[in-house]
Amino acid sequence: MNTLFDKIWDAHVVQQIEDGPTQLYIDRLYCHEVTSPQAFAGMKQRGLKCLRPAQIFCMPDHNTPTHDQDKPIEDPVSKKQVDTLAQNAADFGLNHFGMMHPKNGIIHVVGPERGLSLPGMTIVCGDSHTSTHGAMGAVAFGIGTSEVEMVLASQCILQQKPKSMRINISGSLGRGVTAKDVALYLMSKISTSGATGYFVEYAGSVVKDLSMEGRLTLCNLSIEMGARGGFIAPDEKTFDYLKGREYAPTGEAWDKAVAYWKTLKSGEDAVFDKELCFDGADIQPMITYGTNPGMGMSITDCIPTLEGMGEAAQASFMKSMNYMGFQPGQRLLGHPIDYVFLGACTNGRIEDFRAFASVVKGKKKADGVTAWLVPGSWAVDQQIRMEGLDVVLKDAGFEIRQPGCSACLAMNDDKIPVGKYSVSTSNRNFEGRQGPGSRTILASPLVAAAAAITGVLTDPRTII
């Protein structure tokens, strides 16, 4: 009790249903084109209007091509989904940042960068990576389409209150170790179901020291541990980040908001249902070797052996090894790779592009490696050009594509071919995630950059 999660949750309770879920008020609903059409159709079927249209923001991101966005989308099915979102936004009077709109981008990149996601808010979206917005000190979580419809209709959701967990990461991170490595490390320790049923508060010196963008990466990956969401208590860094952003409060309202935001922290006496502690010094640059994000290891380590694994676990593990073309016990350093993907709601922000550029600066992309560099939004794209990173990247043989989810889930044309290895800064290495038969190795922008210039899995610390 007396956790920050309790404070924000309790402040949004409209009513508690006896022996049932909570009716929770939602401050912000984000909609993208994939998980919303059936919700809007349901609304139309029932003849309903949105209760609070001003609190709802829509933008396409999953289907958007990463080139020629000024032309109509070639795939007619993708085009229909994107057009349907625009039509629904118009029909229901909702905010809509369509393709080529200067505010368009991946919904989880746009929300924070525009100041739409604020401390103390409840935020939902039909997308599991909604946990990203937790970096702003908000309770943000992914929901299904039926639940999207609930929020469209009533600005509320029925939800069972999750248990609370605090993950403390003390000490500091070593050279070449990033927020992405922290998240992959946590998953490798507690598995993809280690936080199922919980809402996670990240704390400790490592978390405090992360930049806002690093925090966004960490919170983004909460769902990959099974958590309902993950968030970080807002602090001066949060306020500095938000100040002056387009939709953030201004003037007197800003002062009032900051005064409230400063109260948003867990009490000294807060009791969590579960508490875990890790040391930043134990974390190395990470990669995944299997087909779920929990199957990760330090880049210098060997894949685990079957020793001590139960029968069912062995079957799942070997299915994964066969899919990836790896052996238990194998060392992956030096393993050839074919594709590199920098982007996604996990690592598609300006700092990720800076990190990638810092490694490849003055070097050349390896022959035989195809690299897709996809900014998370037009704002990120603009910043890249303002800082001249586009020139650094171009000189090293890389081109920048147009914003969207892209090869993270390959709903557009950016598909990794069958059997090819992709070092990806995205969030999931599931079978077929980046295209049927694709083999994904999740990693940080630094590891991805090191692989891009060497053509093999490389410890970035040997380059930077």
Partner: protein, 197 residues
């Protein structure tokens, strides 16, 4: 998709794999529809069909030995993406119940919102169920929602399962959450008034 739910007795379809994620239940390339129909055809698409679209013989949905409206899966079923299309695919294929020792949160809610009942059993009950199905694919389970029990009819063993009273009431009566929320509009407006910002 509103259906009333009471007692279901059925043979089972076993899927003894752990961490079955929603990308496997329905791959992303099938998420482009703007309605809820026809997802069952692509349930477990890449495990069920090869690249040419021919059924893969040894995948359980292509094996005529197994049938029924109860899917039995290894632990951590439905992890990953929040896509409700996974629940639509399961429901559209004809499953009414999914049994596992552990479900991912979002997917569990999505099943419930589509009148598919997720039944959480102990690891031991799950293993025995897999053993019973493998010994006799025609064996049945009884899933009794009013009593919140699941019975392995081969062994006669039963286990209680959890479901909150509200959701149980919804499933038994074929009601959904939006019906409930719309009835409570005054409470929403009262909350907004109190919390004016």
């Amino acid at each position: 998709m509103k259906q009333k739910f009471n007692i279901i007795t059925s043979t089972c379809v076993p899927l003894p794999l752990e961490n079955v994620d929603t990308d496997q239940i329905i791959p992303a390339r099938f998420l482009k529809a703007t309605d809820k129909k026809g997802f069952g055809e692509n349930l477990f698409r890449d495990w069920r069909y090869d690249k040419q679209g021919n059924p893969i013989k040894d995948f359980v949905l292509n094996d005529p030995t197994y049938s029924g409206v109860v899917l039995v899966a290894g632990k951590n079923f439905g992890s990953g993406s929040s896509r409700e299309h996974a629940a639509w695919a399961i429901a559209d294929y004809g499953f009414r119940v999914v049994v596992s020792s552990f479900f991912a949160d979002i997917h569990k809610n999505n099943e419930l919102n589509n009148f598919v009942l997720p039944v959480v059993v102990s690891e031991q009950f799950l293993q025995e169920l897999f053993d019973s199905i493998s010994a006799n694919p025609k064996m049945e389970v009884e899933v009794n929602l009013p009593n919140q029990t699941i019975t392995n009819k081969a062994t006669g063993k039963s286990e209680q399962f959890e479901i909150n009273a509200y959701k149980k009431h919804c499933l038994i009566n074929g009601l959904d959450d939006i019906d409930f929320l719309l009835e409570n509009k005054d409470k929403i407006e009262a909350w907004e008034k109190k919390n004016e910002r």
